[in-house]
Symmetry: C2
Subunit: 296 residues, 2 copies
């Protein structure tokens, strides 16, 4: 361990679940950042973060917040990135790194890159971590522990900048993986985006059932449905932005899913028990693989 | 508390997760049954239950097992009920109660009723409890604690028999609800059967993606997908039988779900963020209701 911290000044923009968890990590390990600056466009959120004492300095003006920072991480909903990037771009310090935590990556490159000045390293990132809770009070410093952190640096990105950012996340407990943005969006479409869309759909379908049945859906939610409602309680703005910004990959996965569901529907209608049994046996094996991979 | 147990002899047929949990409840509270008889067609399962010491007597012959019992509870997969009922029907004691724990109820009435002799009370039941694990080792006596137990006695069923069975389940920790079989099947189709079918489908869809992506699905399963794999690891025989035996209600729910998913798919394709946001906000409120109902 050297006396020089990994970064001189880190600025976190957007102080929700992820942003505030990151602040807590940085404040807990002073070898990562000599100064931690927190920024949110909401005065109420800024006041709450100041009250929680999880930043050295809180700024509601993003242009002031990023000044002099050698690492800026966008933690707002993805839909706000273009505006934030346009605002802070001219104020980013030469040689600094700009990163983010968005759940989609191609759209982030599309929206942010045009605003990144020459000499600033743009290294998009995505921590595969979260809960169904939102806001600065929902964050906790163990959130990233044992979870993946995917970095998707565009071709030609400075290797030292990528490595240094990886070391910051590793210190937060993450396992680092580097891949290209398009592959990231495909993998996340099936592992995360489609499951969330399905959960939102089924909870909506249940809600729309007539009043009597609805209250019974809640009363008798313990066998299956309940697990979906937890996923479907995730932040609405964040998820709207994810679906709008990973459109092609999500539509492709919906299509595959719908074909498979239609095949099962047909097997049920025609009483083809063997087809059902075969699928249910295969899916059980997948669960075993996930437990073996220590992701369960 | 009286000296006379609730039942003289209780016979549990089918010693998987539910059956073996029930055995453990009965053995832990001797005011429920003076004698606890366990029965399974598998000799290996019978031997394991004897080894576990969770029954007073273990029988692999169901006709011997039910002899003299004043309560018999079927805990096999629903698809085996007709055969088991035909086998044990002639051996059921006059005045005894026959019940079950199946996840569908109209089909159970259809399959079992013809084999129930006059003078035997048929009181179908369904504990809304379970895990993704199977077999006699997976059971535990706390499984039913705080969970619903739904009874669906056909019209004209002896009220005292229903009440007594409810008291047994209440002693296992369940909350008792009585409704008709058709309503049960509707409510469970949306709260349990559709969620399981969806989970099986999405895990299958992911498995079918090409080899590279597949291993990444497992590595990066932490955000959403993982929750589905747990549900999709449930017992294949049990779930095949559920879908084949609640066909009409499940097909109706798939239809509603598919319509809703198609509407969301269209909203994503056309970039209609407001529609997504509105649904995601409604589903979040449903989660809150479930937490308030203490089912989360």
């Amino acid at each position: 361990m050297t006396d020089t911290p990994l970064y001189h000044r880190v600025c976190i923009i957007g102080l929700g679940l992820i942003g505030s968890s990151l602040l807590r990590c940085l404040m807990a390990d002073r070898s990562l950042a000599a100064e931690v600056v927190a920024c949110d466009r909401s005065d109420a959120v800024c006041a709450r973060v100041a009250e929680l004492g999880i930043a050295d300095r809180v700024e509601s003006d993003a242009t002031l917040a990023v000044a002099g920072a050698d690492l800026v991480i966008l933690c707002t909903p993805v839909g706000a990135y273009a505006d934030v990037a346009a605002l802070i771009g001219p104020h980013l310090a030469p040689g600094s790194t700009l990163s983010d935590v968005g759940s989609v990556k191609q759209a982030v490159v599309r929206d942010v890159s045009p605003h990144v000045p020459d000499g600033v390293h743009f290294v998009p990132g995505h921590p595969l971590a979260g809960t169904e809770h939102s806001g600065p009070d929902a964050g906790f410093k163990e959130l990233f522990r044992g979870r993946w952190l995917i970095l998707t640096p565009p071709p030609g990105t400075d290797a030292e900048a990528v490595d240094r950012l990886g070391r910051l996340w590793a210190a937060c407990g993450s396992q680092i993986e580097v891949m290209d943005a398009s592959h990231h969006d495909q993998v996340l479409a099936i592992t995360s985006h489609l499951p969330h869309l399905i959960a939102y759909t089924i909870v909506g379908t249940a809600t729309d059932l007539e009043e009597t049945t609805k209250s019974e859906v809640i009363r008798f939610s313990a066998t299956g449905f309940r697990d979906f409602t937890r996923i479907a309680a995730s932040d609405p703005v964040m998820w709207r932005d994810i679906f709008l910004n990973n459109r092609e990959a999500v539509l492709e996965m919906i299509q595959r899913f719908t074909e498979d569901l239609t095949a099962l529907q047909r097997a049920i209608r025609w009483g083809e028990g063997d087809k059902l049994f075969d699928l249910f046996t295969r899916t059980r094996a997948i669960r075993r693989s996930i437990i073996d991979a220590k992701q369960a």
